[in-house]
Point group: C3
Chain length 156, copies 3
């Protein structure tokens, strides 16, 4: 089975952050497989091999719940975010599955217009192809900074 094309990998990476940055959060869980793993952790913890993340979900249902909770909290959006993705490295690719690493940068734009670097890090992904779809079987978000806002409103 041929590897997943780079075009498709770039497309799903771009579509994922577009979903978040346009605020269409209900579409976010749809980027994952049903039995997905989604974790947010820090570079420090990741380096030391700590399994527990700051945010942890091991099914698409948990991701859906997360968005529901977020919407009910009805947080007044004082800021918006902009994700910028760097170029991905494809670590392995075959059998309908690709492992990739993609650096990211998130800029936070405050209500008064002030913009600053909110977060940087790398996405460690396992992408799975099925039929016409390419989904995240696993996304580990490794944030460079140890100072992560655990009340973070948006997914990363």
């Amino acid at each position: 089975m041929a590897g997943i094309t780079l075009d498709r990998i770039l497309a799903v990476q771009a579509a994922y952050i577009r979903c978040i940055d346009t605020g269409a959060l209900e579409g976010w869980p749809g980027f994952f497989t049903d039995d997905c793993l989604y974790k947010v952790t820090t570079a420090e913890n990741h380096k030391q091999g700590f399994e527990a993340g700051i945010i942890y979900a091991d099914s698409k249902g948990m991701l859906t719940d997360r968005i529901l909770a977020l919407r009910q909290a009805n947080i007044y959006e004082k800021q918006t975010y902009r994700h910028i993705l760097g170029l991905p490295t494809v670590l392995s690719n075959g059998g309908g599955e690709a492992k990739t690493e993609t650096p990211f940068l998130v800029v936070r734009i405050m209500h008064d217009g002030q913009s600053d670097v909110f977060a940087t890090g790398v996405y460690l992904d396992t992408l799975r192809a099925s039929d016409d779809e390419l989904k995240f079987a696993s996304r580990l978000v490794v944030c460079d900074s140890s100072r992560i806002d655990t009340l973070m409103a948006i997914p990363l």
Copy 2:
């Protein structure tokens, strides 16, 4: 008619910001079709459906005029800019035309070397292919921040 290849889309996006960041502004209008639409607006205004932008041009001639005016103003360049593009999403592609969305980040470098996030946002583009060329039939620059410097010296 086959869609425009991703390679070509990436190439024209990269060439556009290279033109600006190298200061070769006279080449900037050449990225657009003759009957182009170029607008700069804010996410806030775009969301509310406001048609008017902060900057508006509906022909290549207007873009050329803009650069001429800029050069005549002969602004002492106290700062430079660096555009970083994220990965584009191709929303539609066929019939020699592609609609794409590309996140961007602009860093401003002051004369004393201090660098900060100047602007972020997304390019909403209609690209049109003709012969060997791929041009912007329409570029809507949606800036995340509502605080845009209307005296902005450079194109976005």
Copy 3:
């Protein structure tokens, strides 16, 4: 001889910064040809045609020495870095060699978690293909800011 594919160009660019950002610096010289040229300079100096760079190496051996010295200095890492690459422009491509320009952004993450824009600029590269490998025959790192820390711990 056909040009180097964009996929390969993107891959080597991504792999290079991944090597640095994961701290696997011993692998860094391996991205270059034996008779490589590696220079770091400023946009100001580059514009004025100054040949001398802030950092200069004209062989892979010099790059290896640089990493050895860095490791022996045993600097306590108070900060980490994250490179984000923009989209490359391919200026020429043929005969097993490609010239490309790739904008970059480096974010510095301090020990207390504070993140800021450390450097921006553009990589002016000559990539050379041989067998299965694609290496940097020449990498000129042009930093936008004139304020470059000459004690810079990491390669750019």
